[in-house]
């Protein structure tokens, strides 16, 4: 079951550790102030009711109550404040760690888990705030305050302490039952929410398509069904979660009532004094209050616990072992019998791929759609481990298996323009210069070569036009040309272009041809994934990618 406080969280998240320690210290101080206030109040009130003292005699005690309660108020503020600060830090730390880790898990893993991770890092982790601000302090109070107050009550009236002590062990049993009953439903709910999110977002993302086909109206009912299904699912979770919480609260309130009645009846016989009775009456609810709150906040925090668990699971996901071997300047990279098995397919694509990309040369990777051209490029970039065969880098006279080398050192020598490049939020200039070191003049030069200059010229804000994420400000072809501009600015020794002419007309295609030949002339090794005949004609080496063929296809050398 999900642990109320996972030690792994404290181990792996630094800010969680300090938050828990600080909260615990503040909770102890709060308890002390509360006990002092309760005992003084009982003494003052008891003596007044008995008629054994006048106001002037209890005024000092009344002042003491006021001071103790003021201190408690200040400590309450401090606890809440510290927990809030802690929560924002923990969320930021976990988001950062999760994103860093998933980036290293590779495109295949991310493809399969994208929706889930997206929910987790945007919304799921926010559930940590109620967990750290509401639930955790109560949990610590339960562990620290409850036994302390019980001891204080025992010094006043043993029988009342005993009554409460009998009720207390029942609470952990209920806690356990709550955990048992809600853990699975909560987990299911989070999973269901992610599935629902993915499905509804899929519908929202496809709204344009649905509208073009005249089918959008039909899906409104589907969305209503999905939303209704979630509501019903959530309500059934809550019914269970609240039921155990209510049982817990019932037990807590009822035991206070039993203590009050017990003390009352023993007052009649004179077994206990009024001051003692009042002290017990004021303190008894405080023994059980934290437990009650734990129940109240359990369902809200359960989402937080589940999100933490999921994050920690992702962080435990093993990262593909990266090599560490030093890498000098790479002269050539080759596929040697590379197979990649796409998920859910029985035949590899590519299968038995042989080919190479040399500095100063143009290699064209072609093949029917679905033959695995992009997978071959991903394998070359070290982002996808081949299921068979190896990718080799030649550095001087050495030939290195890509699996053994430090990937970052290899990536520093490659520029890659995928079919659908991602643009960081920012202005065109910021996007084009992200990760490269170049001035405006170099930027203009590169944009001329990539053909992006004419796009910029047509924009009123020019290079200062804001874009970002999946902004529709630029067409697919324009985005690719922007990414190409950036690639040209990088000092890379190799350039990988995935379908650079896919979105372009023939004039722009000619520009691609020009930039590819120029790059090769400048000593860059160019790999182009394309069908365009003019690029194939310009290639030094044409590699045909085929899926599912058992026998390797030999590279066809033209030049």
């Amino acid at each position: 079951m999900a642990k109320p406080l996972d030690p792994a969280l404290l181990r792996s998240v630094r800010s969680a550790r300090s938050t828990v320690l600080a909260t615990a210290a503040l909770v102890v101080a709060q308890t002390a102030a509360l006990v002092v206030a309760a005992l003084l109040l009982a003494r003052a009130l008891g003596r007044l009711v008995e008629g054994s003292a006048a106001w002037s005699e209890v005024a000092g005690e009344a002042l003491g109550v006021l001071v103790a309660l003021a201190v408690r108020a200040a400590l309450t503020t401090a606890t809440e404040w510290r927990a809030h600060r802690g929560a924002t830090r923990v969320v930021a730390e976990m988001r950062d760690a999760t994103l860093r880790h998933v980036a290293r898990l590779g495109p295949r893993w991310l493809e399969a888990h994208r929706a889930e991770v997206a929910t987790l890092v945007t919304r799921g982790l926010d559930a940590l705030e109620p967990y750290l601000v509401r639930y955790l302090p109560q949990l610590l109070q339960t562990a620290l305050l409850t036994p302390a107050i019980l001891v204080v009550i025992a010094t006043q009236d043993l029988l009342s302490a005993a009554t409460l002590a009998i009720t207390l062990p029942l609470i952990p049993v209920f806690m356990w039952l709550i955990g048992l009953a809600t853990e699975r439903t909560t987990r299911r709910r989070l999973a269901a929410q992610q599935r629902l999110d993915a499905r509804v977002l899929d519908l929202v993302a496809g709204l344009g398509t649905l509208r073009a086909l005249g089918r959008a109206r039909g899906t409104v009912a589907r969305v209503r069904e999905l939303a209704d299904a979630e509501r019903r699912g959530t309500m059934s979770t809550l019914r269970v979660a609240f039921l155990s919480g209510a049982a817990l609260e019932l037990l807590a309130t009822l035991s206070v009532a039993v203590v009050a009645v017990g003390v009352g009846l023993r007052l009649v016989t004179g077994e206990v004094g009024l001051v003692t009775g009042l002290a017990v009456l004021v303190l008894a609810p405080e023994v059980l209050a934290p437990l009650r709150h734990v129940g109240t906040h359990f369902h809200a925090s359960a989402d937080g616990v589940a999100a933490v668990e999921r994050c920690l699971d992702i962080l435990r996901e093993p990262v593909p072992v990266a090599g560490t071997a030093d890498l000098g300047p790479v002269e050539e990279v080759e596929w040697d019998g590379v197979d990649v098995l796409p998920p859910g397919r029985t035949l590899p694509a590519p299968a038995g791929l042989h080919g190479r990309v040399r500095r100063g040369g143009i290699t064209v990777l072609r093949g029917p759609s679905g033959a695995g051209k992009t997978s071959a490029a991903l394998a070359l970039l070290g982002l996808l481990a081949p299921d068979a065969g190896v990718v080799r880098l030649r550095v001087g006279d050495r030939r290195l298996d890509l699996r053994d080398v430090d990937l970052a050192a290899w990536h520093a020598q490659v520029a890659w323009v995928p079919q659908h490049p991602v643009l960081e939020p920012g202005t065109l200039r910021e996007v084009a210069l992200a990760g490269v070191d170049a001035d405006d003049e170099a930027l203009r030069g590169a944009a001329e070569r990539s053909g992006f200059a004419e796009v910029v010229a047509a924009l009123p804000l020019g290079w200062d036009t804001p874009v970002g994420g999946r902004a529709r400000g630029l067409s697919a072809g324009q985005r690719q040309r922007l990414a190409t501009t950036r690639a040209l600015l990088s000092p890379a020794r190799f350039l990988v272009l995935d379908e650079p002419t896919a979105h372009l007309d023939s004039a722009s295609s000619a520009q691609v041809l020009r930039l590819v030949t120029e790059a090769a002339r400048d000593g860059v090794g160019v790999l182009v994934l394309t069908h365009a005949p003019e690029l194939v004609a310009a290639a030094d080496e044409v590699v045909t990618v085929a899926a599912g063929a058992a026998e390797p296809l030999a590279a066809e050398v033209l030049a």
Binding site: V65, A103, L210, A246, T346, S369, W416
Partner: protein
């Protein structure tokens, strides 16, 4: 804007969104009733047990205490029970409200302006759809019900104390007012400024996180991952600072409540002692007057948090109503295109996004069953915009499009029974191949699906798949190649019941032979009585079979002149 104006604006935003939640008054009243009973039981328990203990200390006959003993036990049970019903009832109201709001939102996007969805980032949609709707929905549980309950319970407590000592009652009322109005108002005022920035920063963090997820591999290869994560850390820092600022008054408000409780208790003690000395208050009553306030602050204690939540919900409400406003379009007619001949006729047409310069002007074009029209032109010449306009999904910037004889602006939402459009970036849904085809028409059989996939050149691809038509293609079609995706889209378009099809670059991402074959297959559709308009990059040789070829490059360059290479039809 002053903070006061901002808070008033919040109230207005909440009042505007409230009807969209469709909250039933009856359900809300029931939730408030249970909540009131639960907290009243707690106040009652404090009052009756104080009376019981004080009275018992005077050693009366046990019989005198019977009623109090029973009442204490009953209230002890009642509290837990009522609280359970309260939470269940208020969450039900909230969840129903959120579901209702989501439906309204989706429906607005499904029926509203085409460009409202297109200009949203994915991370933003996620936030509007998820967190924003949740925030507004939670308004019921976290703000509305607690506020009403606190009001009623405070009256109950003041009633109990005031009946015994009017002055102590007055002081208690003042303290409740201080905690119940002062603390939440302070918290809301201080949180107001910080929260607005916070939401923008949350959006920034979400958008950046989504960028990392979308392009992790590319960013890593390009060495841009670490800088982007650095920017994300900066955004998180800014978010953290605003949130810390927002937390400070919230924490202070908690302290104010604790302080007000202490003040009320000590004041009751002093006032009660004086009245006791004056003989106007019995000793037993003193215990009740002093101890009841201890339980009375539970209701108002929740209000600081409630007001902070209401402010947050108001921001979410504003973003949601803003989106709804953007999606709302000027009323269009609901004319039936089925009455006229199934043809699309454009005359003197100019196309462009609303509020921007037209991309194309002076275009005349006719598409009817049995005809094939090819549109060629350089990038950015407005091909996609033209298709949207011809499909009746975007109003013409000038001129007119008649679909089935009816002006497109008189149609409610295009005319899918006459003409459908397949965009270049049309969505592949995260479901099976068969279900993706059924998006075009609900009753597509497996045989029809196989036939049309073969026609689109996906026969061999289908044979390679172990699950065949039931193979799930991932989110955004990520588990199939670019070319397979294109052909799937063409197959889907072919299944559409409309006689006229608009296809945006169906031959992209295909190897030249397949592209040529597909193009000829598409053009051949006119033999089956379909009318086809397709946008392509293919050269003139490939387009020999088309009836008309429209060159948009020439249209854009020379407004008013439409070069149409007429061929024998």
């Amino acid at each position: 804007m002053s903070t006061r104006d901002a808070l008033l604006a919040d109230l207005r935003a909440l009042r505007r969104i409230w009807p969209l939640l469709g909250v039933s008054r009856r359900r809300l009243a029931v939730a408030v009733a249970w909540g009131t009973l639960a907290l009243s039981a707690a106040v009652g328990l404090a009052a009756v047990s104080a009376w019981l203990i004080a009275r018992a200390s005077q050693m009366p006959p046990v019989l005198d205490l019977t009623i109090a003993v029973v009442a204490v036990r009953a209230l002890g049970i009642g509290r837990g029970l009522f609280r359970y019903l309260d939470r269940l009832a208020s969450h039900d109201v909230a969840l129903r409200g959120a579901a209702h709001l989501r439906e309204r939102l989706y429906s607005a996007l499904a029926h509203g302006r085409t460009d409202a969805v297109a200009t949203l980032r994915r991370g933003e949609v996620l936030r509007r759809w998820g967190a924003d709707v949740d925030d507004v929905g939670d308004l019921v549980v976290r703000a509305v019900v607690p506020a009403l309950v606190a009001l009623v319970v405070s009256l109950v407590a003041v009633g109990i104390v005031g009946a015994l000592s009017p002055l102590a009652g007055l002081v208690l009322a003042a303290c409740l007012l201080l905690a119940g109005l002062g603390a939440p108002l302070l918290a809301a005022r201080a949180v107001r400024a910080a929260e607005l920035d916070g939401a923008a920063q949350r959006g920034r963090v979400a958008a950046q996180a989504m960028t990392v997820l979308d392009g992790a591999a590319e960013l890593r290869v390009g060495g841009r991952l670490d800088p982007l994560l650095g920017e994300l850390a900066d955004a998180e820092d800014a978010l953290r600072r605003t949130r810390d600022r927002a937390a400070r008054p919230a924490a202070l408000a908690q302290g104010v409540t604790a302080a007000a409780t202490g003040l009320a208790v000590v004041a009751a003690l002093a006032i009660g002692a004086a009245q006791l000395a004056a003989g106007s208050l019995a000793p037993v009553e003193l215990a009740v007057v002093v101890l009841t306030p201890l339980a009375a602050f539970e209701g108002v204690g929740m209000l600081a948090g409630a007001s902070v939540h209401a402010v947050r919900a108001a921001d979410a409400a504003r973003r949601l109503t803003d989106l709804l406003d953007r999606a709302r379009r000027p009323a269009t007619g609901a004319a039936d295109p089925a009455v006229g001949a199934p043809a699309v006729v454009a005359a003197g047409l100019a196309v462009g996004w609303p509020g921007r310069e037209p991309l194309l002007r002076g275009l005349d074009l006719t598409l009817a069953p049995g005809r094939a029209v090819a549109v060629v032109g350089p990038n950015g010449s407005g091909k996609t915009t033209l298709l949207l306009t011809l499909a009746g999904l975007l109003p013409p910037a000038a001129g007119e499009v008649r679909i089935g004889g009816v002006p497109s602006t008189a149609l409610a939402d295009g005319a899918p029974s006459v003409v459908t459009m397949t965009a270049e970036d049309a969505h592949v849904f995260d479901t099976t191949i068969l279900e993706n085809l059924r998006v075009a028409r609900g009753d597509v059989t497996e045989d029809e699906a196989r036939e049309v996939l073969a026609l689109a050149g996906l026969g061999a691809f289908l044979d390679r798949l172990p699950d065949g038509l039931d193979t799930v293609v991932g989110a955004g079609g990520a588990c199939i190649s670019g070319g397979e995706r294109r052909r799937l889209l063409v197959a889907r378009a072919l299944l559409s019941p409309a006689p006229l099809l608009l296809l945006d670059e169906p031959d992209e991402h295909l190897d030249p032979e397949t592209a040529e074959r597909l193009l000829q297959d598409v053009l051949a559709l006119r033999e089956a009585g379909r009318g086809v308009l397709l946008v392509t990059h293919r050269g003139a040789a490939s387009l020999a079979a088309a009836d008309d070829v429209v060159d948009l490059g020439a249209v854009a360059a020379a407004p008013g002149v439409v070069p149409m290479l007429e061929r024998s039809a």
